[in-house]
């Protein structure tokens, strides 16, 4: 295939240095380089101030509505419970109680596992949707229209969407009735409501868009000609997907997974409504404890829930270098 004898001695190199030189003349950096040391330091100071001004509102918000409540929870978890609430007397008994409770740890593990399953399912079902929207639909107008349609469920309240599953999936619900009418089943299926399965399906429907959206935005950024370039360089459709599309959508997958994981891990409302008392989660445990005014215990339970979430996020983040890839 190759035949070195016919080639000339001189490598066919482009004159890289000269081109770089030519480029630098027109380079934007030239302007910055012309600035003196002092002016540059001044500019840096001004830039830092501007940055601070822009971040201040967000920082204040996070301080009052995220950091302070979390600190409060941690604090209360070390306080003593009383009949009517708690008093600020240091104690470890809330944690002792927690460590003795098998139910709690079982539930924490269940919720963790359940969240991972929902993350996996929403990725499996959501990715094709995002891919279709971002890559297959070429008209921007059509793309936006479809995306808004996909967002339509978000126009109703989350609780209403959860409640709406009951007439859909109940014993006398639409699905059971339809299946019976079609003669596919003779008895109504009980698994459709008030079961683990029902909770999984409902959560999937409630949260899948948090997976679709970030993947969609990552895929939409992919330069289509880079897909053509991959084909051109010898990759078939599958390899193009594996080598070019998938790696570039990884930040979206990771962010979507974090959304879905966090949201489902702390879930209690859907579990209550769709699970109907047969299913519980860490969320429902915390809620029960709060309902019976056991704030310090609820706080201790919540602390481990948060730790489990942080662990999950940490693991998910290892799949992508967001700082570089985004």
């Amino acid at each position: 295939m190759s035949d070195s004898s016919e080639r000339e001695e001189r490598p066919a190199g482009l004159h890289a240095e000269e081109i770089d030189e030519a480029e630098q003349v027109v380079g934007e950096r030239a302007e910055e380089m012309a600035l003196g040391e002092k002016e540059r330091a001044g500019a840096r100071g001004r830039r830092a101030l501007t940055t601070a001004a822009w971040t201040a509102p967000g920082a204040v918000w996070l301080l009052f509505f995220l950091l302070a409540p979390v600190m409060m929870i941690v604090l209360v978890s070390f306080w003593t419970r009383t009949v009517s609430g708690f008093e600020s007397v240091w104690t470890l008994e809330n944690y002792e109680f927690l460590f003795d409770s098998n139910v709690y740890w079982e539930q924490l593990w269940n919720s963790f596992w359940h969240s991972l399953v929902i993350v996996a399912l929403s990725l499996l079902l959501g990715f094709p949707v995002a891919y279709f929207l971002a890559i297959c639909v070429t008209s921007l107008r059509f793309q936006i229209a479809l995306f808004i349609i996909a967002l339509a469920p978000f126009w109703t309240s989350y609780l209403i969407r959860a409640v709406a599953w009951i007439p859909m999936m109940g014993r006398q619900g639409a699905l059971n009735t339809a299946l019976q009418e079609l003669g596919l089943i003779s008895e109504p299926l009980d698994i459709l409501l008030f079961s683990d399965f029902a909770v999984t399906v409902a959560m999937l429907q409630l949260y899948i868009l948090f997976m679709v959206a970030p993947i969609f935005f990552m895929l939409a950024q992919i330069d289509r000609s880079s897909l053509e370039a991959a084909r051109d360089l010898g990759a078939n459709a599958f390899k193009t997907f594996r080598e070019v599309v998938l790696p570039q959508s990884m930040p979206g997958i990771v962010i979507g997974s974090i959304f879905v994981f966090i949201l489902t891990m702390g879930e209690f409302a859907t579990v209550r409504i769709i699970g109907g008392g047969t299913v519980s989660s860490v969320g429902t445990i915390v809620q029960t404890q709060v309902a019976s005014v056991q704030f310090p215990q609820a706080a201790a339970s919540a602390v481990f829930l948060v730790l489990a979430m942080i662990l999950g996020v940490f693991v998910l983040l290892r799949f992508s270098n967001l700082r570089e890839d985004l």
């Binding site: 035949d3 080639r7 482009l14 480029e23 027109v26 000609s225 370039a229």
Partner: protein, 382 residues
């Protein structure tokens, strides 16, 4: 040297462009592409390109040049016609199965891979071992002078460097034909001027078939062995740069190439090789060996801007190939001065040497005498 092995061509490579030997090179046969019912993007294009030849497809946007290139690369399927490479039809082959590679306008580098991984991509897809593809990639990077930047991400490179990565990435594939889609379109002017010389030198060194699409006349003239001027999906003229520039075949080519003064009129007399044309307010006489113009027939002629002689308004200009014109705008372009003139109702351009700028400076609005030689008047196909 490793890069010699990497980049040596398969067949007919180091030989100079040879005349169309039967069955070798690239052959476009009645190539046609329709988009929907109404849009005829490429209309019955026939072209042969030899191995080792640098061919430029030139035309305004929407003329079908990019669609033609995409059909060769396999990114569009022709509606009808055939594409043969060394006698083998490429139709029905997906881009990954074709021995062609493309340099895309916006480089189309993989942003999530390093420079080296970008260049390694092709060999990797063809199942070449890690060690071998690394060696190939590094020698291709040597060739474009980017070895030192092999571990950077494309986003950390300048436009010119990205362009060179894109080149290395296709050269490592040892394609039979290299397709370049507006390869210099994203670069600054200064860099563009440099890169086109480098492209030309690279093509000469590799002896590889380059098919280059551009809308830039100057770029086309500077790199191509042959230029294919396209308009409305059809080929208007195929010729070497000199011919395209000096002997445009028809009105489309003459007007697209720019700096041609086009006159429409009627043939009033033929006398040997001389054809006289009445262009309304201008009388033209062309020296056309073997012209078969008949008296009374409509004719279109062109006169290159550089062939127009500009003199002082001394005598009245009433002979053939003479006009009085008023200078409207003077463009100083360094090596030359471009005069935009109004003569009667028509607009003309003349180019004179840059040395004469002082003579014309500040004379916008003045009248001058324009003249040209009979042999500079080209009879065009309408």
């Amino acid at each position: 040297m490793p890069d010699e092995q990497t980049l040596t061509q398969r067949e007919g490579a180091s030989t100079a462009p040879s005349p169309a030997a039967a069955g070798t090179g690239l052959e476009l046969k009645s190539l046609t592409k329709r988009f929907g019912e109404d849009v005829l993007a490429v209309d019955d294009v026939n072209l042969h390109i030899a191995h080792g030849e640098y061919v430029v497809l030139l035309g305004p946007s929407g003329c079908g040049k990019t669609t033609t290139l995409r059909m060769i690369g396999g990114h569009e399927e022709p509606t009808s016609g055939d594409i043969l490479l060394d006698g083998q039809s490429l139709l029905g082959l997906t881009p990954d199965k074709r021995p062609t590679t493309t340099v895309f306008q916006h480089f189309a580098l993989f942003p999530h891979r390093t420079v080296r991984e970008n260049v390694e991509f092709g060999p990797k897809m063809h199942g070449i071992s890690r060690a071998e593809r690394r060696e190939k990639a590094m020698s291709a990077l040597d060739m474009v002078g980017l070895r030192a930047l092999a571990d950077r991400r494309p986003s950390a490179l300048s436009g010119g460097q990205q362009q060179r990565v894109a080149l290395a990435r296709v050269l490592v594939m040892e394609p039979k034909a290299l397709l370049l889609d507006e390869p210099l379109g994203d670069l600054d002017r200064l860099l563009r001027l440099r890169m086109r010389v480098e492209l030309r030198a690279l093509q000469r060194q590799l002896g590889l078939m380059f098919i280059h699409v551009t809308h830039d006349q100057e770029e086309a003239l500077s790199v191509g062995d042959r230029i294919v001027v396209m308009h409305d999906g059809r080929i208007e003229q195929v010729a070497d740069p000199f011919t395209i520039s000096n002997l445009p075949a028809n009105v489309q080519v003459a007007s697209f190439m720019g700096d041609n003064n086009i006159f429409e009129g009627t043939v009033t007399a033929t006398e040997g090789d001389r054809v006289s044309i009445d262009g309304g307010d201008a009388e033209l006489r062309a020296l056309v060996p073997g012209a078969d113009a008949a008296v009374g027939q409509p004719a279109v002629v062109s006169v290159r801007a550089a062939a127009v002689q500009v003199g002082a308004q001394d005598a009245s200009a009433n002979g053939p190939n003479q006009l009085l014109g008023e200078i409207e705008v003077i463009e100083y372009l360094g090596d030359l001065v471009k005069l935009h003139l109004a003569a009667g109702g028509r607009r003309l351009v003349a180019k004179v040497s840059g040395d004469r700028y002082p003579e014309f400076q500040g004379k916008e609005g003045e009248s001058v005498r324009l003249s040209w030689k009979e042999e500079d008047v080209r009879l065009l196909r309408a």
